[in-house]
Symmetry: C2
């Protein structure tokens, strides 16, 4: 059996009991090195670990399949939820494509978006979208279309992979487009290193959104037209008569 | 301190370690009765519990605030993630409105959408929206606008509260509108009683989506234009070169 496990955003406290139990019982754990480091206190000396670098997903998936096919109980891990821009998709894609006879099970975890939301207050309380601004795997035209739709239909909007040292225009565009559709006072929350050492949060507005402070370790949440900030919390109301 | 806790979709196995630890140490646990039942194995005889029925959120929040103000460590619970159509928002709204001096902390959980996705395969692997079809707290015109935007911009679309015995037109409209924008073969997954006794899953297509089988215990996930079903899994590819 190959378990595809979401380990949650960072701290092992935010991992599910199920994920924790499975990680302790498997023979092999495969993961990107930063994620293996996050769970180092769970891994025992009897377990085999395999790691490789960023963008080497295919290598890790093939290794995990190899270990599983050889009879090992194997886990491949993602941070957050493995089903959100994580390993669940590519593992299943490859198994399907190559027609491997392997049982897989996805163990869901707390996604980065929801962990960031909890740090900020309650911003996702109404309909929301998650959009990855990375154009490595998705054409920019498609990302742009989704940014526009999210802004126009007043969705709370979560941005994954918002900005890197080489890729800046996507967040600039998002800010400008939203400013065209929503008030400049629309609250925006940024969480960096969610649930990890050095966690930082910033509450700001669309107009003041400091682009240069946003990087690949940041999750950005743009409120909808009803969102507000009160006592240091970003809150999106849902219409309860309170 | 008032903890607003997402207990995950159902089984305590899918609760975070943090949520479990806090639930064991608090003096008072407040929650809708179905959710208190889900965590009955965690609650000890020394703890006070307070429950009330559906749509009595305000009553529960006031009770939780009362207990907290009286010096009790208190938890108020939601299923899934408390920040997604859960208690995090209304608790903070009420505290803000009444200007209560109470510390709150949101403990995130695995949302129903992500737990349903794990049961189905890997449908949320690309940009997705969550939309609640309930028109109790949100005008239907606003919901409709968001359904249209989601369909037009090719988002994977998760429907919460999709259909009840008294409310059927919202899901009918969604199906018809999506059929107008996406192929009738677009895969759709439905999970009922996620991670609870009697969990059921159904893989189907937009065209064949059986409206009458969908109820308030169901979560519906509509794939994007690239999603496919293979070996009983609903998969949305993300563009990896595999």
């Amino acid at each position: 059996m190959l378990y595809i496990i979401g380990i949650g955003p960072g701290s092992n406290q935010k991992m599910t009991i199920e994920a924790n139990n499975i990680l302790q019982k498997v023979d092999v754990i495969v993961g990107y090195k930063t994620y293996l480091k996050l769970i180092k206190d769970i891994i025992s000396q009897n377990q085999i670990t395999y790691t490789s670098g960023m963008r080497e997903e295919k290598d890790r998936i093939e290794k995990a399949i190899e270990y599983t096919a050889a009879g090992n109980k194997t886990a491949i891990i993602s941070s957050g939820d493995a089903g959100v821009y994580g390993m669940a998709g590519p593992v299943m894609e490859l198994i399907t494509k190559k027609n491997y006879q392997i049982d897989v099970e996805v163990i869901p975890g707390v996604p980065a978006a929801n962990a960031a939301a909890a740090v900020l207050g309650a911003p996702l309380m109404h309909d929301y979208v998650t959009i990855s601004l990375s154009d490595i795997l998705t054409p920019w035209e498609q990302i742009k279309k989704r940014i526009k739709a999210a802004a126009q239909a007043d969705f709370v909007t979560v941005l994954y992979n918002p900005r890197s040292s080489r890729r800046k225009k996507q967040l600039n565009f998002t800010k400008e487009y939203f400013l065209d559709k929503r008030s400049p006072e629309t609250p925006v929350g940024i969480v960096r290193n969610i649930s990890r050492e050095g966690q930082e949060k910033l509450l700001t507005t669309l107009e003041k959104l400091p682009l240069e402070k946003v990087d690949m370790l940041s999750t950005v949440i743009i409120g909808n037209s009803q969102s507000y900030i009160s006592e240091g919390k970003l809150i999106t109301p849902r219409g309860y008569n309170l």
